[in-house]
């Protein structure tokens, strides 16, 4: 080894292959073996979907684990035969807008809960926990009936519109995420915003200029969670968006394989990859926050 002090002379020692293998297995070798199995388990569906997307025949019955050929026919079919671009735009619209507004609303509320003492604070925090137990989608029947009425007065936010569903999603803006954020806000030293207030900052300036930059990791993680949840949301969307052009990509893909499962599988596979790309991208950009953000909530518990 390079760090060996000069002068010491090591006796030449050669390990036999068997001994080396044994040492390897007792050290980190078994870890590699286990991981190999795990990685195979993790990857085979992903490989299958990629291979099916490239499969020139585009059917489920001809798709293999390993691509038998490479063609972009499926992608071309998807763009030609379905309103794919519209679906995709709809999905991204919901995911991005909901994530952005939820982060803003949640951060505002978390700031109040973390930094201010007011009547109803404790009730509010506990109330947020209680309302979590009644997930919004359990009230889907009521929401459906509500929007049947709302849609008559305001067609802009009725069924088959983006704004209506977005409003419903935003009803879940304050949630367990607000707790996660509040926990993180609590870790920022109070002296920072107090000194800024002494310098004449208003509460809004403290929030936007001092707090927000310090809590970026938790903002990122909440944005990620909301983004993923929204882009994969099916229940509400299926009740709200029935018109083909109003559908999200997830609903569109569901419809695509609901009728012609075998024949449309290639197109579905392309769509599945396209639907996963934004999530993968968000993961990639936010990866340094992920472990920290997820465990921040965990350790607080």
């Amino acid at each position: 080894m390079a760090v060996d002090t000069p002068g010491t002379v090591r006796a030449p020692y050669r390990r036999t292959t068997g001994v080396r293998l044994g040492l390897w297995a007792r050290g980190n070798g078994w870890r590699h073996l286990v991981m190999l199995v795990v990685v195979a388990f993790a990857l085979f569906p992903v490989m299958f979907v990629v291979s099916a997307a490239l499969n020139p025949l585009g059917t489920l019955s001809s798709a293999q684990l390993w691509p038998s050929g490479a063609s972009l026919d499926n992608a071309a079919d998807l763009f030609r035969d379905t309103p794919f671009a519209t679906w995709y735009t709809n999905s991204l619209f919901f995911a991005v807008t909901n994530a952005a507004v939820t982060v803003l609303f949640s951060a505002l509320a978390a700031y109040a809960f973390s930094r201010m003492r007011f009547r109803g604070r404790r009730v509010g925090l506990l109330g947020l926990l209680v309302i979590q137990m009644f997930p919004q989608f359990l009230a889907i029947v009521a929401i459906y009936l509500m929007f049947t009425n709302i849609g008559e007065y305001y067609p802009v936010i009725g069924f088959d519109t983006r704004w209506g569903l977005l409003l419903v999603y935003l009803g879940g803006a304050l949630s367990i995420n607000t707790w996660l954020m509040k926990g993180f806000f609590d870790t920022v030293p109070k002296e920072l915003d107090e000194s800024a207030q002494m310098d004449g900052a208003s509460h809004a300036q403290v929030f936007f200029r001092i707090m927000l930059p310090l809590v970026t990791p938790v903002l990122a993680i909440v944005a990620l969670l909301v983004f993923i949840a929204t882009i994969n949301e099916f229940l509400m969307a299926s009740v709200f968006l029935r018109d083909t052009d109003a559908k999200t990509l997830g609903l569109g893909l569901y419809q695509l394989v609901a009728s012609q499962r075998n024949a449309n599988f290639g197109m579905f596979a392309v769509g599945a990859i396209m639907l996963s790309l934004p999530t993968l991208a968000v993961f990639w950009f936010l990866q340094r926050y992920i472990t920290e953000g997820l465990t921040a909530g965990a350790v607080k518990g």
Binding site: I143, L214, A298
Partner: protein, 538 residues
């Protein structure tokens, strides 16, 4: 490692903060900077405009309660954002408004719906039911007014509510819905009287009209006491008088053609004749706790409900357990200093979590397909995975473990890193085996951090609609009970009752929702009271 790095960067910007230019305004100036003031005025202006926009249709529709509500909300917003004393409310209001409107109100509405018989055939009040009974029974008389009919809808061509666009002999146009007849302005009318374009309506093509001809048969526009407009064929409609007439004196409907008398039953919300036959159009009435009694005590419904409940709990428990074990095992395997390729392993193992779960559920469903699926082809089997109750259950659990373990892995990795390695080493020096030091030192520490996550995972999977709906739609169904499938969770069962059955049973579905809420609350309260999460609130 990751944590410390970004904590450093956070600290750096924290030290940088005081170095920024002096913020204008005195301490507690309240108003803040001029820019802030402008933003506030602009937002309030925008909100006022929104309020005016919201009031207009309500005013046209004469909905005074709605107007009152809008005015109250706008007033509340003004009070909060113009006062200097309501600082916390300024931060809470945006989220709380949405929370109240689209979560708290729907929950309360669900609870109130759960004690009614709201369903297809019991939608409106009694007056509406009478109006539609009379309109449906309309038959043509000799001097009936005839209209040229164009069928349109306000929603999607396949499912939206039907509207009759009617042109009378003088060329005036009307729009007729189930509620009644109203004038229609600005429609483009052909010489034949057919409407080709009307604002806010989608004209159905002949093929689309044909597809909905059954609905058309039953569609009628009430126009007054005992009269209504119905279609005859696809392009004409006539106004006629009803054969079924309501008489207030006896609170009954008499069929003038057959002489049958249907008496109103205000407890069941429909008109019944002597032999117990009812008219299809009923109205909504309170039924107390009948809906709850139905799935708790009615033998058929109760057996569906309790079978589903048991599987629901088993599903959530087994997914949570398997995901935890697998995630933790992987985290422990990778928890070794100087393991080569650690980063690559991590990325690959987390990949399922980064894929779109919606698409992946559909993918798993197709991999389990009997004729074309990957599993049967690779393994050379002919198993109908989703057709047998037990393989279908295993399939749903397997797909969920695949999607769920990366999250547990991430959390477990974070928690493991927070536990000092020395603790385990000390135990081993004292003579504990690797297993013992894990079991008695690492695991208890780990569980402190993981318990809330496990509770959350359990609660999430308890209501994991996508996991079941997208893979098996709750099936397979046994022939003797076509409403409750082997893999049905309570939430998919509820969804099917409300939206996927021939007749929508909203009241019953709402009662089930309330029941799920009660079950989840009880489970959460028990588990939360065991952990220390609630002590945080001070």
């Amino acid at each position: 490692m990751v944590a410390s790095k970004s904590a450093d960067s956070a600290g750096a910007s924290g030290q940088g903060a005081p170095a920024r230019p002096h913020l204008p305004g005195g301490r507690f100036a309240g108003g803040g900077s001029i820019g802030g003031q402008l933003v506030r005025i602009a937002l309030l202006g925008l909100f006022t405009a929104l309020g005016v926009w919201a009031v207009l249709p309500l005013y046209v529709g004469g909905n005074w309660w709605g107007i009152g509500l809008v005015v109250a909300v706008v007033g509340l917003v003004y009070r909060v954002y113009l006062s200097r004393r309501t600082v916390p409310a300024k931060y809470l209001l945006p989220g709380v408004l949405f929370l109240v409107a689209f979560q708290v109100l729907p929950v309360l509405y669900t609870m109130s719906t759960s004690v009614t018989n709201l369903s297809d055939g019991h939608r409106g009040d009694k007056q509406q039911a009478i109006a539609s009974i009379e309109a449906y029974s309309v038959t043509s008389s000799a001097d009936a007014e005839e209209y040229t009919l164009t069928v349109a809808t306000t929603g999607a061509p396949e499912t939206g509510e039907l509207v009759f666009l009617l042109t009378d002999s003088e060329g005036d146009t009307y729009a007729g819905t189930e509620e009644g007849l109203s004038g229609l302005d600005g429609a483009t009318v052909e010489p034949s009287g057919k409407v080709t374009e009307a604002f806010g309506h989608t004209i159905l093509s002949p093929a689309q009209v044909n597809a909905r001809s059954d609905e058309l048969q039953e569609f009628a526009v009430p126009t007054g006491e005992g009269t209504g407009i119905r279609s005859s064929g696809l392009s004409t409609a006539f106004e006629g008088s009803a054969t079924r007439v309501y008489d207030e004196a006896c609170d009954c409907v008499t069929d003038t053609a057959t002489g049958t008398v249907y008496h109103a039953d205000d407890e069941r919300g429909a008109f019944y004749d002597e032999s117990g036959e009812r008219l299809a159009q009923g109205w909504q009435v309170g039924v107390g706790f009948d809906n709850f009694a139905r799935f708790l005590f009615n033998p058929t419904f109760a057996s569906s409900f309790f079978t589903i409940l048991v599987w629901n709990i088993a599903f959530a428990v087994s997914v949570t357990f398997l995901v935890f074990v697998l995630g933790l095992a992987i985290a422990l395997t990778l928890h070794a200093p100087r393991l080569r390729g650690k980063v690559a392993y991590r990325v690959l193992v987390v990949l399922p979590y980064a894929m779109s779960s919606l698409a992946m559920f559909l993918l798993w469903r197709d991999m389990f397909n009997t004729d074309f699926g990957l599993f049967n082809r690779v393994l050379g089997l002919e198993v109908d995975w989703l057709g047998d109750p037990w393989t279908a259950r295993a399939a749903v659990i397997l797909a969920n473990v695949w999607l769920g373990y990366p999250y547990m892995f991430l959390v477990a990795t974070g928690a493991l890193q927070a536990i000092p390695r020395e603790l385990g080493q000390a135990a081993q020096i004292d003579g504990a085996s690797a297993w013992q030091s894990f079991r008695h030192v690492t695991l208890p520490l780990l569980m402190v951090a993981m318990t809330p996550i496990l509770i959350a995972t359990f609660a999430f999977n308890f209501n994991n609609f996508n996991a079941v709906w997208l893979i098996s739609q709750g099936g397979p169904f046994s022939p003797d009970n076509p409403t409750a499938g082997a893999t049905d969770l309570l939430i998919t069962y509820t969804y099917r009752l409300a939206f996927n059955e021939a007749t929508a049973q909203y009241g019953y579905a709402a009662a089930l929702s309330v029941m799920i809420f009660l079950i989840v609350s009880v489970l959460s309260v028990i588990s939360l009271s065991r952990s220390s999460a609630l002590k945080e609130v001070d």
